[in-house]
């Protein structure tokens, strides 16, 4: 093995170890940060993981939005027209959050089966509905 080959070998070893470390990091991070989508019916059936973060999708139940009188706390129901879940959120709701419209929330269930949301997302376009919510509504109907 001459001088040039040795240098090339070191270079390739460095590149491979760097890529391997990055791949390891990526897989570890992916494992830690995947949020699964659940529908209200799946939660009612007890399929949602307790005390683990997940994503809830559905429609905001009519006449269910209730604002607290002294804080930003708000509660509302999320439904797939079959079952519903009570959601509690402490913060500013998005502009397009409306009763009867689709909504996606990130958070976890507490011991009373209330969904404590860290983040509430509403669609940005009148014509757009998250694909997951669409599937949930279809599943609940059938």
């Amino acid at each position: 093995m001459n001088h040039i080959h040795k240098q090339r070998a070191i270079l390739i070893a460095l590149i491979i170890s760097c890529v391997a470390i990055a791949a390891g990091l990526a897989l570890y991070a992916l494992q830690q940060n995947i949020n699964l989508f659940y529908s209200p019916s799946q939660i009612a059936a007890g399929q949602a993981p307790p005390a683990h973060e997940f994503r809830l999708g559905g429609l905001v139940q009519m006449h269910s939005v209730h604002h607290d009188n002294n804080s930003l706390r708000v509660t509302f129901g999320v439904t797939d027209n079959k079952n519903s879940v009570l959601v509690q959120y402490n913060g500013v709701l998005p502009d397009l959050f409306r009763e009867g419209q689709s909504v996606v929330a990130d958070g976890r269930l507490d011991s009373h089966n209330v969904f404590i949301a860290d983040q509430v997302l509403a669609k940005h376009d009148e014509r757009y509905m998250p694909a997951a919510v669409k599937t949930f509504l279809k599943q609940a109907k059938s």
Partner: protein, 635 residues
């Protein structure tokens, strides 16, 4: 009449694109000069018809021709003129037309600026561009024509443009982004042409470089504009969300940055030839993947708006053909490309290689995080989402070594470097960077988070080393060197902005009634009251906030809550007091009971540096461009 004219112009452009794709290659094969020289006039003709078609659509928007379905869906008589024009690319059909028109523009530029390029090479490049253009024109004409008419039930009024898009930042964002995306098609075409002829040399790299840098500049500007828009309109003060649509533009940027650096080695040293070719194919493929992700509606994203399976299938097929052919050609021809010159382990080549490896690894991890939910969904394994924590966890650790090496590379010689000399050159910048960042932190706070220290020290390091490289080079500096320096300092400025705003931002969501005071950091925000707002196509409320700092008046902020009348869509416009070292940000949430409002009040230190950094990078690109254009294309 005019919309039909636009449609016919599109069909004529398709015809010309097909001629441009087929005849020059046949001409080279059969040795027919008249077919080869056809490429240039046909490319210009194609561009002419595309521009005609584009202006027809603008005309339909400006004259409120609601018999055109696309206009009826995305415009309104009350819409201000500027946004009527911007609405042309506000939704799917128009943005595909914009995409093709910009491709026509780049093709025309390639056709005109070709003095020093051999005729056959030039014809091949134009043929590849013609092929891409044919694909997209076919897509546009068959699945997404913006000129489709609603002749039976012509509505009297249009639905209106999505209010989120009615903003100067977003009006200019898509054209810039597309200029970047599509510009990389020229680099792709040069790579394919080189593979067809088996001729990859320094001259080839010199032709390709200006096109790549120009596309990169536009893409950088587009991403910067998009981030600035998201900050003001979309995300309540965030500047990057790791949303799939954003990632779609960031992927080609990372690969494009790698390509610029690898192209430099190919041009100066004749090395990394096959790698450069592969990158050129990869960058444009990522641009196409980005277009596919955004335009096919496969994303469960908060801002993807196309929803038509036929479109998705067509784009996916086209994607497979372009990427598949590109990679197949590469696999067949790359083994015959002769290797470059010798370089030692300690040389500028090695550091540029490290830059490429890190950028491509970063790009791949982001691609994985973006596509993972789609793959899981496609396999029927459930609905998942990959959030910002994943992207931060993988991206930041890769950027730390990248920034460190960014300092070393410019101080290293090509080919071989003495370790001792290199260390002597790096010693003082390293010491000063560490002490300067510690000093800056100790002056402002008493405890120092590790990440803030790393971020600041690396930014100082990059700036100091870049300045040192200019001093070592001596006066007068070449435009290339100034360009490199500006772009690298731009990255450093951006890193300072990201670090400071991520760690020292203060965000409070509060419930406020008129008269209430909220303290955020050293600033007191007093809710003064509400006044009515009447805009051209919206009504709304203005909330006034008086900001004071230690009882000294700072500013009066007017946060707006708009209701766009055409679709009854509410929209928030934040009030921002911009400064060099901090932004004060107030956004109105929803009305609560007892006259109270939900209010977001943010203090964002150094946030503007993120976009200034982006602009510096663009400026750097323009400097590097000036040199290579005047040398290679004009004289």
């Amino acid at each position: 009449m005019i919309p039909e004219l636009g449609y016919f112009a599109l069909i004529l452009a398709l015809g010309m694109a097909l001629i441009q794709a087929i005849f020059p290659l046949l001409g080279i094969w059969r040795d027919k000069m008249s077919w080869i020289v056809l490429a240039k006039p046909v490319a210009l003709g194609q561009f002419l018809f595309l521009v005609l078609s584009f202006f027809c659509l603008i005309y339909a928007f400006v004259t409120d021709d609601f018999s055109v379905a696309y206009v009826a869906q995305n415009s309104n008589t009350q819409l201000p003129l500027l946004y009527k024009v911007a609405a042309v690319w506000g939704a799917h059909e128009g943005s595909v037309l914009l995409w093709v028109t910009i491709l026509g523009f780049w093709t025309a530029l390639v056709a005109v600026f070709s003095k020093k390029i051999p005729l056959q090479m030039h014809a091949r490049v134009l043929a590849v561009l013609g092929f891409i253009s044919s694909g997209f024109l076919l897509f546009l004409i068959t699945t997404s024509s913006p000129f489709r008419r609603l002749l039976l039930n012509t509505p009297a009024q249009g639905i209106d443009l999505n209010p989120l898009l009615q903003d100067p930042g977003l009006a200019s964002h898509p054209p810039m982004l597309y200029m970047g995306y599509v510009g990389f098609s020229v680099a792709f075409a040069f790579a394919i042409a080189a593979l067809l002829t088996n001729k990859v040399d320094a001259a080839w790299a010199r032709w390709m470089r200006p096109w790549t840098i120009a596309a990169w500049c536009f893409l950088t500007l587009g991403i910067t504009l998009g981030s600035w828009w998201a900050y003001r309109v979309l995300g309540w003060g965030g500047w990057w969300f790791w949303d799939p649509v954003e990632n779609a533009s960031f992927l080609p940027w990372l690969a494009g940055t790698a390509l610029i650096h690898s192209l430099l080695v190919t041009e100066k040293r004749g090395s990394f030839k096959s790698w450069t070719l592969l990158l050129a194919i990869c960058v444009f493929s990522l641009s196409l993947v980005g277009t596919f992700l955004v335009r096919s509606g496969v994303l469960v994203s908060v801002h993807a708006f196309a929803n038509d399976p036929a479109r998705g299938k067509f784009l996916l097929l086209f994607l497979a053909v372009v990427i598949g052919c590109g990679l197949l050609l590469y696999a067949l021809r790359a083994p015959f490309i002769k290797g470059g010159s010798y370089f030692s382990l300690l040389s500028r080549e090695t550091f540029l290689l490290a830059n490429n490896v890190l950028l491509i690894v970063a790009m791949t991890t982001i691609l994985l995080g973006t596509l993972y939910p789609l793959i899981i969904d496609a396999l029927g394994l459930g609905n998942i989402s990959v959030g910002p924590p994943y992207f931060n966890a993988v991206f930041v650790p890769l950027m730390i070594p990248l920034l460190f090496l960014m300092g070393v590379g410019p101080l290293c010689y090509w080919r071989e470097m003495n370790l001792k000399v290199l260390l002597m050159r790096l010693l003082y910048p390293a010491i000063i960077a560490v002490f300067l960042s510690l000093l800056l932190l100790l002056m402002t706070t008493d405890k120092i988070p590790v990440m803030v220290f790393i971020g600041l020290a690396l930014a100082c390091w990059v700036i100091l080393v870049t300045v040192k490289s200019m001093l070592l080079k001596g006066w007068p500096l070449s435009f290339n060197h100034i360009g490199m320096a500006l772009a690298h300092i731009g990255i450093a400025v951006c890193v300072i902005g990201i670090t400071m705003t991520s760690y020292y931002k203060l965000e409070r969501d509060v419930r406020m009634q008129p008269g209430d005071i909220t303290t955020v950091g050293a600033y007191d925000f007093k809710f003064m009251g509400l006044t009515n707002l009447q805009g051209p196509n919206y009504t709304g409320l203005i909330a006034d906030f008086q900001v004071t700092h230690k009882d000294q008046f700072v500013t009066l902020l007017h946060a707006q809550k708009r209701l766009y009348t055409a679709q009854q869509i509410p929209d928030t416009r934040a009030a921002i007091d911009a400064g060099i070292f901090r932004d004060l940000y107030v956004a109105l949430g929803d009305p609560l009971n007892n006259n109270a409002w939900a209010v977001r009040i943010y203090y964002k230190p150094f946030v503007r540096w993120i976009w200034w950094g982006g602009l510096l990078m663009v400026l750097g690109g323009i400097c590097a461009l000036k040199n290579s254009i005047s040398k290679r294309y004009i004289n």
